[in-house]
Amino acid sequence: MPRPLIAFACTILLAGCPRQALFVVLPNEEGGAGAITVDDGKTVTTLDQPYAAAESRAGSSGPVEESRGNIGVIFHRAIAAQPLLPRHFRLYFILGSNELTPESVIAYRGVFDDIKKRPVYEIAVIGHTDTLGDLRTNQALSLARSAAIRDRLVRDGIASGAISIAGRGKRDLIVSTADQIAEPLNRCVVITVR
């Protein structure tokens, strides 16, 4: 059968054409799921439930049912290659000081347990503030806090080359509040080990 005819037959009987691609939403760590959109240039399929799937056949994409068992088989090797996911450690300071709260001292030690599980690691230190004061002051403060934690990690034996720091100021609140609110839970540094 000439090629155009095959293509024509495929568009009529999509299921008879070989599958070209499969797209699947997987449950995230918390058990929920976000969403992906699959755009083949003509139609957009939105997948927003765990194990929701779409496929492409003959260049067209649309939703498809795929069993969890099959999904597990198809992606077995890709999932087996998945590294340990990044882990976050939140550190809080005793008000008006650079001293960590007792709970945060335990969280800080957790960083050192976590890196032992990884064949290779990087550490990102990100500072946050509450909403007292202006943007610029808080940006500087959040960066100073993350720099202080970096120095402590280095003193405790982490290679400085493995650490990056950033400050989110008051633009990314841990606990959402109105502006100009003192909130100890927002004076925070998050260490991410990846």
Partner: protein, 150 residues
Amino acid sequence: MALILWLAALLLVATPSAPGAAGAAPIAQVKTVMGKVVIQRSGQRLPANIGDPLFEKDVIETGPDGGIGITFIDNTVFSTGPNSQLALDEFQFDSNNFRGSLLADMRQGSLAVVAGDITRSSPGAMKIKTPTAVLGVRGTTFAVQVYGDH
């Protein structure tokens, strides 16, 4: 003096160039490697090793027994199975404001993704191109299989 300058110039030429474009910062790090995995970079084919930095425009290729796991600087995690080809076409990320974009070209094989911070501040910041469709990502865990040769 001229000799010293000449020697210095020679040394500059002879020093192997840094990976990626001059001065480019790594966008991800190789965390797991199984079987044969090659990174194509500026026309070179380099074997992938745990701990290697990855750069924008790198192309990852896994062999019939291969697999690789990488983590981007925004905490997005990619892992591919065997017989896969994945191009890291575009990646920009600012860790201070979480703005950026990630565009990957999944040409063949299987890919599992856990989306990171890049999808938090700008919806549409992460896109995965495949031969038949483009995936838009709104912060989630998902997988893509592209069948056959393309």
